[in-house]
Symmetry: C3
Subunit: 510 residues, 3 copies
């Protein structure tokens, strides 16, 4: 009797059947080899009692003869014989598998809000969604690497929920969620080559040590920019597939956006005529929706949350805000949550802390409330103290034509205790928010040992241009940096601090 | 035939019995559900061969019918049927369980030394001891978090020994000591909110991933002070019970000592009319004794050891010293051990290093001696070098009426290599000890980038007052700190270093 | 029927036999005790179904009666009885075991190149090789600790390959390579006492927790110098055997080289009339060859690679270069690989990353090429930028008789961003290489907050002498350091920076 992996059912239990399919996973124990074959629609677990090694390669097409049984609420085949399918049948089998799996993983480009930019990226969304579903289908782990800020967390959690649901549906086993999904925050606003080297090392060792498949890497709120490209290259050269979901300014060359060459899907609104106002959190919520959204009420809110935390504006943001409001999240509540999420992220460092993060981002009824109640007062106390320090120590000067631009500069090393919350970017933001009502044209600079963080208002220039100009002018000074046009930072060797600041003011008042 | 979980014995092996009890723990494997029921006096392991999920909630009262067997020197029930006890029986069953377990975990307030302060805290001791025993009885892990200095280690080890004995007695399995007890040093002199967030994340993930119960958290030599309260709140809001054993100045409000509101037991001599001379090590040795002291000879010594290392005085300390002497530990030997323990702690960072720590704190015959022989000369070499640096570079001035107060101030960033042993606190202590014989009134200050560490003699003022005063006077400067009245530290933003030092001298000479 | 552990074969399967041998390993599970006995030539696995504890001590001589069976391609004994051999037989049995195992682990002092120094060290090589083979034979893990630079990695990988082969041959089980070998990089150029304390803690806990044996510790490219000795002492006192393979200047006292007293083999060319031109990588490749070289083509290259990276010269290096060339590795290709290895090591920090490291050091066909292709351009970009910064900011002065010595000094804290690649030593090397063609007599100094790194040319003095002299002259300044005669560093407390540099110049121009 011939059956298909997806066709097994109660009626054949107790019978010896023949079943063909693609080998998608195998595990060996001292007494038995366990393996799974699939026709692209469903899989069946096969158990071969044997102490000899299992020598078939993942991806082969196998004919298995075995006794159908039911065990732990699951149909299995007790194997009596295995052989590779004859070569001449392979093309047809492969084609059938591919037709089936394409159907199983199909994603439709439907979005939660109206947006030309999203529609322009719909192909990338579909590619990403289908790649993720395929990975789950083929026992490949999905690793979500995300920027450790509120936007990165929001996007990662939305995706984690959707992928977790797919994993649990596929494996029918609670513990699979710990084997086939991993989420890991990155503290830099780019995928540092050092992190990439360490992550690749761990990935390859897990493959060799436990026989795992290479994972699919989903990079959230990082991955597009110039500083990310080396990491992407490293993964590509070692056959680790990546998906990039980012809204930072993407690296670009004559042949197009660089990240697109090294990842299987590159979702970034800056590649679709929009800008960073569509956050990684929004993009991830949309992708999660395309894959299949879980815990809809608390997940949909994450799009607006990420926009609040990244100071978005624009029509997409407005629509997400409205969706959040429908779920009971006012702008005020989101602001509080965003602050707590940033504080959490600062303290939690590189840990996954899956359950706590899930709670913070709205799973269950109470944990989010408890965390806000306890942590928000701490954040507000620390922000108030920081603002007071900066306001007290910063230097105010007026530059430009008619002294029209107000410059507030704070020596970060002198006015804050190294490494304490909030970090330099948020600190400069606090001072900026404090001053921005008062002045038409404003430049706030947080000056560190080897970095100046800048926020501007009313000065129609792009900090990325300044970085580019300075890098040429002072090639010896290791100038790096950039960011958003009026909020970014410049790195340099410490000896050049005064010169860089002087040039910054000259550039601003030009 | 009806039996009780605590009543099973050889005679019923081979018989089918009915047994009622509270479900205290369960584990599911692919082929069987293992669970334990208890009547508060004893437990029995039940094995249900089944591939369906185990759906009873921890804490339910169950009726189990099963075949009594003996396996691996343990009685078990091979389950034939399980049902929840009828609702109408629950109040009586619960009451009986509670009566029984109260008896099983009973602790008596007996102390090793005579002390009114200890007697005044006896209720807290009993609550702590009984909570720990109850946790063991109900398969809850006990996590000991302790300050990573000699006092914190001493207390933690004393408790670890007692709890380990209870765990081994209860589980009759060597490996249980690795599952149901964990000890983890904290490098800050308070439970940092960041550590608390990370610890809570790990706790919740272990619960979700491995089905563990929430642990009981025992905090040693930290937990009482103002800077600890946010951590306590975080655990309380997430239903993690804490016990605080501390001797730092406790945070206080109109409604009482703050830590008492967030922990199930708060043991601190400052709440009982005494002071920090009764160390966390002494308190923990007493609690260990109440629970049931293990390795008495080497454990009792830890009380005196902690006093030596924290420079205690007072009648309790004298009594502990005498007890240590009776175990063969002279004051001189304790001093050497305290130095080695501090050096070990500095180098061992956050690692548990259970066996090595046990050896260092006196388990077995030789390891402590070996470690002292090898490490003490290193410590003494490093202390000598540090003192020489500080004595060479420090500035001596005389202030106050008739220039009666000698001030020795060392610029720590200039006179020591960052991060090397001994750290700032101990370094300032070395300079202080070197000078204190010479001068009647002495203030030694180690001045760092954003912290001044102070030791005083003959100046009857309280550094905590100075911190409070300065915090009001310079609200922009992030003033924090405190400690013991004449040994503590003040933190501030770096720009205010000179001003804070100036104000310190003015305050001292007033 | 009496058989020997090494004598079991197909013919006795199904028979009950008596077998004597030394107990070399045991593991207990809830249902069975597994243990292995050996006659020094071969081992046999014994399975005792029993729920009582296994009470024989490792190293005992046992008589086992059991049924011979074949299971998972392995012969085993199903135990029917165990007893300790009678005391009177022990001396003969021990002697026979020792005779056999000596034969099993025999190593011959054969070297890949002609070198008097190697020949002079042949006894140490043989001792090291035999100790490693014995450890494998007795189920003891081998832990390779190595300096995290290209030399340290090269040596460690060569040894890891040889040892892995022995482990796999012995255990016939792929996963054994993860249990019985561990490799771990050290970031300091010596075995820091803090690392030693943490490593010892982990070792002892693994022993207690999992019943592992104490490992054999092989220290590569560290271990000989003054700063390593405390770590060696610590291990020796706790019965952890060490082997030291190093080429740094070894600590020495009246009674000989200090490391030799605390390790079972101390291989260092400076103890054999040669110098540091024979790198740890070369020594390890030789030792790997003595144990039995694996992947000969890619392993033999590592000797030359380490020489390139450590700027070796001399006849041994020339011969290794030639061997590398025969394997297809030109000097140019080795230079590129050395740079990539250093960059990798900087980024990979303390991670083992076994598979990635294996690939980088030449296992398989493509990974090394891919990694060079992606990482070398990054390294070269960063080196170029660093050199430009240093060349721009460094101060040039001329000192000595007729101003004949050129001194280039760079303030590292000002001219580089803390913690970025390349670190201070390599950075100073870049500046040195840039200037060395121009000047006959050259001293390049990278001046940090508490360390000066020096490279000299044409100045026939030894930096170690300067350190020694200064340590006496400025005993308060915590002077430490040294290195190679014309490339090393001096550490001091920050306040003395200017004075140390002034004295350095005076010393150089004397």
């Amino acid at each position: 009797m011939d059956i298909k992996p997806s066709g097994i059912n109660k009626d054949i239990v107790g019978k010896v059947v023949k079943c063909s399919g693609k080998l998608i996973h195998s595990v060996s124990t001292p007494r038995a080899n366990l393996f799974w074959i699939s026709d692209g629609l469903g899989k069946i677990k096969c158990v071969e009692f044997s102490s000899s090694a299992f020598n078939f390669k993942k991806g082969s097409m196998l004919n298995v003869v075995g006794l159908a049984q039911e065990e732990n609420n699951e149909f299995i085949l007790k194997v009596k014989g295995i052989s590779e399918c004859p070569k001449e049948e392979l093309p047809d089998l492969e084609k059938a598998y591919e037709t089936n799996i394409s159907q199983s993983i199909r994603c439709l480009p439907e979005f939660l809000v109206e947006s030309e930019a999203l529609v322009r990226m719909q192909e990338e969304f579909v590619k990403a969604g289908e790649a993720i579903k395929r990975a789950v289908f083929e026992f490949r782990p999905v690793v979500i690497k995300h920027h450790a800020d509120c936007d990165g967390y929001s996007g990662a959690i939305a995706l984690e929920r959707s992928i977790k649901k797919k994993v649990l549906d596929f494996h029918q086993d609670e513990s699979s969620a710990w084997f086939y999904i991993k989420r890991s925050p990155m503290q830099t606003p780019f995928y540092d080559i050092s992190d990439a080297i360490i992550d690749l090392g761990v990935i390859l060792d897990e493959m060799d040590k436990y026989g795992r498949s290479l994972p699919l890497l989903v990079i959230v709120d990082n991955g597009s920019s110039k500083q990310d490209i080396d990491a992407l290259k490293l993964f590509a050269a070692n056959e680790v597939e990546t998906i990039v979901i980012d809204h930072h300014i993407p690296a670009k060359s004559a042949s197009g956006y660089t990240a697109s060459s090294y990842s299987i899907s590159h979702i970034n609104p800056c590649t679709a005529g929009s800008d960073s106002n569509i956050t990684a959190g929004m993009l991830s919520v949309e992708l999660a929706n395309i894959i299949g959204m879980e815990e809809k009420k608390s997940t949909i809110v994450l799009a607006a949350l990420s926009g609040i935390s990244d100071k978005s504006s624009g029509k997409e943001f407005e629509q997400y805000l409205k969706l959040a409001e429908e779920s009971g999240f006012s702008r005020e509540r989101l602001k509080g949550l965003a602050k707590v999420a940033d504080f959490f992220s600062f303290n939690n460092r590189r840990f996954e802390s899956r359950s706590l993060v899930e709670g913070l981002f709205g799973k269950g009824e109470y944990m989010q409330e408890h965390l806000i109640r306890i942590l928000l007062p701490i954040v507000e106390r620390k922000e108030k103290a920081r603002l007071e320090s900066l306001a007290h120590t910063c230097r105010i000067q007026q530059i430009g034509k008619d002294k029209g631009i107000v410059v507030a500069s704070a020596d970060i090393d002198k006015s804050t205790i190294t490494g304490t919350f909030p970090l330099i970017g948020k600190s400069v933001g606090l001072l900026f928010d404090h001053l921005k009502e008062k002045y038409e044209k404003l430049l706030v600079a947080g000056i560190g040992k080897s970095m100046i963080t800048v926020r501007m208002k009313g000065i129609s220039k792009d900090i990325n241009d300044f970085c580019g100009m300075l890098a040429k002018e002072m090639s010896y000074a290791n100038i790096e940096g950039g960011g958003h046009p009026s909020a970014g930072s410049i790195k340099f060797i410490p000896s050049e601090k005064d010169k860089v600041f002087k040039r910054l003011l000259e550039w601003a008042e030009e």
